[in-house]
């Protein structure tokens, strides 16, 4: 079976997704329809087989987590905590950089990148408008930290969910492999951001003394409870051997029932583009696997690694990291999953971890590939701050290089590959 037309179909989807000519979900659905039509007409699969490529467990985990995150976001728990903490350090710019960075990363570890970024940037720009600080360095740093946050847990990002489920990692197992790396990278990144921005950090506190924070304590407590419930159930899922998706869906049901928000409104605010994109793209990857179209990349990696797990892990890290500089992280993760599966190593924990790090950490090098960076630039401009998108690469590229370099050392030591 010549896989050329299947690969061309795949490339078309990637180009459409990158060009953002259409919503990502539509591009993937067009591609899935095309590839399934090729497969059916070539007699390599049936329509019902193509439907079975949709990873229902991944979608259940994704939707469950999205619902809990949306409810918790509405409860204002993170808003309350972030304001409380920022208030304490407002007059100390270096500390504010560290605190805003850590808040960004930790919030995105538990909420979505988008929700975390909107919250932190809204706080920083509110303070900027009140004359308390120049928000540009703090906001760009926070966007970079948001991109880093979420690397270390199964539910931290959609690529993590896809990789974690295919790798068969439980929530605790995933965290044990990747969370230490993420925490160490916080230090590395904050040090780099401080070095880059040290002359530009201005925060007077000025007249913007924050008044008493007015939020519903009941809602804040509800949000904290729901998040703890989801995390506990995800950990329990690994111990009692039931799927993480079941834990996420159970948490979602409790969240909807307990929080008292309009359920339909919560549903409306979910990121359906990502859900439909994930469903359609898993079909595309399923078809490519069926016609062995990705075997070439796996064979190349295998040949280049020459049977060394250490080298193979480093190659997966660097190739997926380079790819995620230019492509959306989810495309990179979903495309590399069958490649890692095809590599002939009995223990693939290092390879899966390398893929998580590569797919997550390439995102801030160039503004084109980083939704969070572009979103931050847009928000800054909307509030009247001028910022050149390409100037961000001056900090984004070194940070990405440092992340990938540190991750390489981490993988070699964590999995005893040297």
């Amino acid at each position: 079976m010549d896989p050329t037309k299947y690969l061309l179909g795949y490339l078309l989807v990637v180009l459409l997704a990158v060009s953002e000519a259409f919503p990502m979900s539509l591009s993937a659905m067009v591609g899935a329809a095309l590839l399934v039509a090729f497969g059916v007409s070539d007699g390599v699969l049936s329509f019902s087989e193509a439907l079975s490529f949709i990873d229902l467990e991944l979608l259940a985990l994704l939707v469950g987590v999205m619902i809990v995150v949306e409810v918790v976001d509405r409860c204002g728990t993170f808003r309350y905590l972030a304001l409380k903490v920022v208030r304490r350090v407002l007059k100390r710019p270096v500390l504010l950089l560290v605190v805003a960075g850590l808040m960004s990363a930790l919030t995105s570890l538990l909420l979505s990148d988008e929700a975390a970024l909107l919250l932190i940037v809204a706080i920083l720009l509110s303070l900027g408008k009140a004359g308390a600080l120049d928000p540009v360095p703090f906001a760009v740093s926070s966007a970079i930290m948001v991109n880093l946050g979420g690397t270390g847990t199964l539910v931290g990002s959609v690529p993590n969910m896809a990789i974690g489920i295919r790798a068969g990692f439980s929530f605790a197992e995933f965290a044990s492999y990747l969370l230490p790396c993420e925490f160490a990278l916080y230090g590395v990144t904050l040090a780099l951001l401080y070095l880059y921005y040290r002359g530009k950090l201005q925060s007077s506190g000025g007249e913007a003394e924050l008044e008493e924070i007015e939020v519903s304590r009941v809602d804040v407590a509800k949000g904290a409870f729901l998040l703890s419930l989801m995390l506990s159930l995800l950990i329990a899922a690994g111990i009692a051997d039931f799927p993480a998706s079941a834990a996420a869906l159970a948490s979602a049901v409790v969240a909807l029932a307990l929080a008292g928000f309009d359920t339909l409104e919560v549903f409306q605010r979910l990121d359906w583009d990502t859900v439909f994109f994930t469903a359609a793209f898993t079909v595309i990857i399923g078809v490519l696997e069926r016609v062995e179209a990705l075997k070439g990349l796996a064979l190349w990696l295998q040949g280049a690694a020459g049977g060394s797990l250490a080298l193979a892990s480093l190659l997966v890290l660097l190739v997926s990291g380079a790819a995620s500089l230019l492509l959306p992280n989810l495309i990179v993760a979903l495309s590399f999953i069958p490649v890692v599966e095809a590599l002939p190593f009995a223990d693939k924990r290092a390879l899966w971890s390398a893929l998580v790090l590569g797919a997550n950490l390439g995102g801030v090098g160039l503004p084109v590939s980083s939704f969070v960076i572009v979103m931050t630039i847009g928000a800054l401009r909307r509030e009247g701050y001028e910022i050149d998108p390409w100037a961000v690469t001056r900090v984004g590229i070194p940070v990405t290089a440092a992340w990938l370099g540190f991750s390489a050392i981490y993988l070699l030591t964590r999995f005893g590959l040297i």
């Binding site: 953002e20 720009l125 509110s126 008044e211 924070i213 939020v215």
Partner: protein, 87 residues
């Protein structure tokens, strides 16, 4: 470069509603409540549509609007006080 500008604008537009909401929630939490107004382009101003759409991002206009709101609030508060304490 123009493509990048377009990208920034397009991507931010896709989350602008959520951003504005977050900004309002933060302002409220800081003890500075916000109100959201939907103002239609006044009749007879159809040819100024572009200028009208730029107003929310115009700092001078926002300052004038705040001043106007301040006056309205003072006037209304005074009226209310006079009604409650006619003497």
């Amino acid at each position: 470069m123009a493509r990048m500008e377009e990208l920034v604008e397009k991507r931010f537009k896709s989350v602008e509603g959520k951003y504005q909401l977050e900004r309002e929630l933060v302002s409220e939490a800081l003890g500075k409540p916000c109100i959201i107004l939907h103002v239609q382009l006044p009749e007879g101003c159809e040819e100024y549509r572009e200028l009208f759409e730029e107003l929310p991002h115009d700092e001078e206009f926002m300052a004038e609007l705040q001043e106007f709101i301040r006056e309205v609030l003072r006037r209304r508060a005074g009226k209310l006080e006079r009604r409650e304490n006619p003497s």
